[in-house]
Symmetry: C2
Subunit: 393 residues, 2 copies
């Protein structure tokens, strides 16, 4: 009889059988009551037992580094759910290092530092953040299920590629199509353009943000209109450009001159400003304001999530698009501004909110707990999306 | 005026401007004539200058690890294009380690070892292989453009999720739709099911294999019929199964009872055995034989790329489906068997080929240079796909 020969892969192929390794691996782990009711994080790679989420709200990392002198878990960014300081790991038997630390729900970027080398945790999935593949830790929130995969119809995410004249070369865009898109072949849909933050990519809103699941759940509950969500890569320098300076203008140019026509040509959209929104987080929040307010003939709905907007000036910012409150209120169907209260950008965001309020520019202001992190942006999308396109079919 | 505040991300945001850093980084690199005509590998993350492909056919890796005692590049697998032995890196100034080594064209998995810790190169993209996120090095072949992105119409790749009864829980499948799929709304397409190897995932055939580009190019040249390509994750143990033993049977069950109905229901397919193929590499090659030969009412075209098939017995293997040559030749439209001559699986593959020849079971035998590696499997797909579905509309 034939057998399946798994080549050099045999060792780790065995690792893929959750159950078997499970038992083994826990036997090898020092007895620790926390582990009794613990489970691997959803962001751990298949078959890996670590990082492990413990019942007491802590997480245990485990790494093998036999000859290392110093090993740390390094949370990335400020206001990280793992804390802002590196966590020293303790050396155990056979070169296995571990550390247990408190963690709050949400998605947290981290790295591993081994004798000064900054790399990723082989046990975790990587996410594109900080301009490189970076380990991520997903900690479910027992009180929130709006971004969990639920028993509802699911949309797809399409990876679409095209060649750009603006940035010169191929680009990739992720497009969420809502449940039913393939079946209801005459139906047309409104579109939300949704951008990631600096150092992230077109993968971020689905992999880190769970945007597809948030929309699936909102649509199933009748709380959001079925819509397309278009997620591009926010980096768009011209081939000959040497500086970051023009980057956000290039991106706006790319969206209006290439991306919107591509999407309206390829998908069954409602190709109209009233059915087209743009939002983004951090750098992408600034890009959404710049692109949306700079092209009000194209966009009527704008959202900025922890937006990177400083020194807002009513007269000059965004080409003065908010200078005339009456006109802005007439043209904008929604201007949505949100920020976490622990975010370093909360002050400029509050200033923006205050200035717009004072000047009677209608907008939604969303202030909630959290720092510059994905858990906040998931909540932002969850509040923003239901407000869009009330007139859409 | 507003400025875009890039938060803590400022440092590496600057890194994303290819040009500026380019110049800087090369100034800091010791003068080396190899670098003069060198360029970052296509698998390097955006803005990174390393790994660098040099004009003399070598690659230069560079890593920062200030306090490390020993740093190595570790090629993974046997017959790796970087060689099979770890490459010692040399410590330079400011904790920067580097090594230059010969490399052949293709895609090569590698890791970095820092004082016994095995991790990834922060400068490279990661690919799911070896049951974890693993660094990959893509080295273009100047003599081959069949898997390069060319100026032809491009299909999309859809990320589809569903809930499986067989494996219990959500699964993800990547589906390539050929150019024109969205426009020619009455047209139906044949389907190729295409599986990755052990330790890889549903991402592999596009990210490592460039299957979407191979199909785009073949279709544009009129050499392959427009077809869907369905790429699933080959791991499908039952929730209660503790062993790998039943894994390939479960996968076959999943394909026939859940995946094929899902694809035929969701996409405009030609839902017929004559228009349905299954192929795979290594472990996936064994799965393709088992699934295809075990379900000849569902599949008429089968391919095994460096397939993990040992101890082939004409009488008993694959339920004896090849025992009766006349019947097998009648039912199979194609049985395609390929292997690289440097692959450790070449002997069992040649034995399979010899046994089938001797027994007059019609098949295509494809033997070519290369080891157990993606460059071979790209060539396999490139030979296999044009042979499929000659009768398809």
């Amino acid at each position: 009889m034939e057998r399946f020969f798994i080549s050099a892969a045999a060792t780790w192929a065995a690792l893929l059988v959750g159950g078997t390794l499970s038992a083994q691996s826990l036997e090898e782990t020092p007895a620790d009551s926390r582990l009794a009711r613990s489970r691997p994080a959803p962001s751990a790679v298949r078959g890996s037992q670590f990082p492990r989420l413990n019942a007491d709200g802590t997480v245990t990392f485990q790494i093998t580094a036999p000859d290392a002198q110093r090993v740390q878990i390094v949370p990335r960014g400020t206001g990280n759910g793992l804390g802002d300081e590196p966590l020293d790991m303790t050396r155990g038997e056979r070169g296995v290092w571990s550390v247990t630390a408190p963690v709050r729900p949400g998605f947290h970027y981290y790295q591993i530092a081994v004798d000064g080398f900054r790399g990723n945790d082989p046990a975790s999935q990587t996410y594109f953040g900080w301009a490189q593949e970076t380990s991520g830790l997903e900690v479910p929130d027992p009180e929130l299920d709006f971004y969990a995969r639920q028993d509802v119809p699911h949309g797809d995410v399409r990876i679409v590629t095209y060649d750009s004249r603006v940035s010169g070369g191929p680009r990739r865009v992720f497009v969420y199509t809502p449940p039913g898109y393939d079946d209801e072949r005459a139906r047309r849909y409104p579109v939300l353009y949704l951008q990631h933050g600096a150092g992230e990519s077109e993968r971020a809103w689905t992999e880190q943000g769970k945007a597809h699941l948030i929309l699936d759940n909102l649509i199933a509950a009748g709380r959001a209109k079925p819509m397309l969500v278009v997620m591009e890569n926010g980096y768009a320098t011209r081939p000959d450009e040497q500086s970051l300076r023009g980057q956000n203008d290039r991106f706006a140019e790319l969206v209006v001159s290439e991306l919107v026509p591509l999407v309206d040509g390829k998908f069954r959209t409602l190709a109209d400003r009233e059915q087209r929104a743009i939002a983004g987080l951090s750098m992408g929040g600034g890009q959404a304001m710049r692109t949306g307010l700079g092209n009000l003939d194209q966009f009527a709905w704008i959202g900025t999530f922890s937006g990177a907007i400083r020194d807002f000036d009513l007269e000059t910012s965004f080409g003065g698009a908010l200078r005339d409150a009456e006109e802005a209120n007439c043209r904008l169907r929604l201007l949505w501004i949100g920020c976490g209260t622990e975010d370093r950008l909360i002050d400029p965001a509050r200033q923006l909110h205050a200035r717009l309020t004072e000047h009677n520019v209608k907008h939604v202001w969303f202030e909630g707990a959290g720092s510059h992190e994905w858990q906040v942006w998931r909540k932002h999308l969850h509040d923003f999306a239901p407000r869009l396109f009330p007139g859409a079919k």
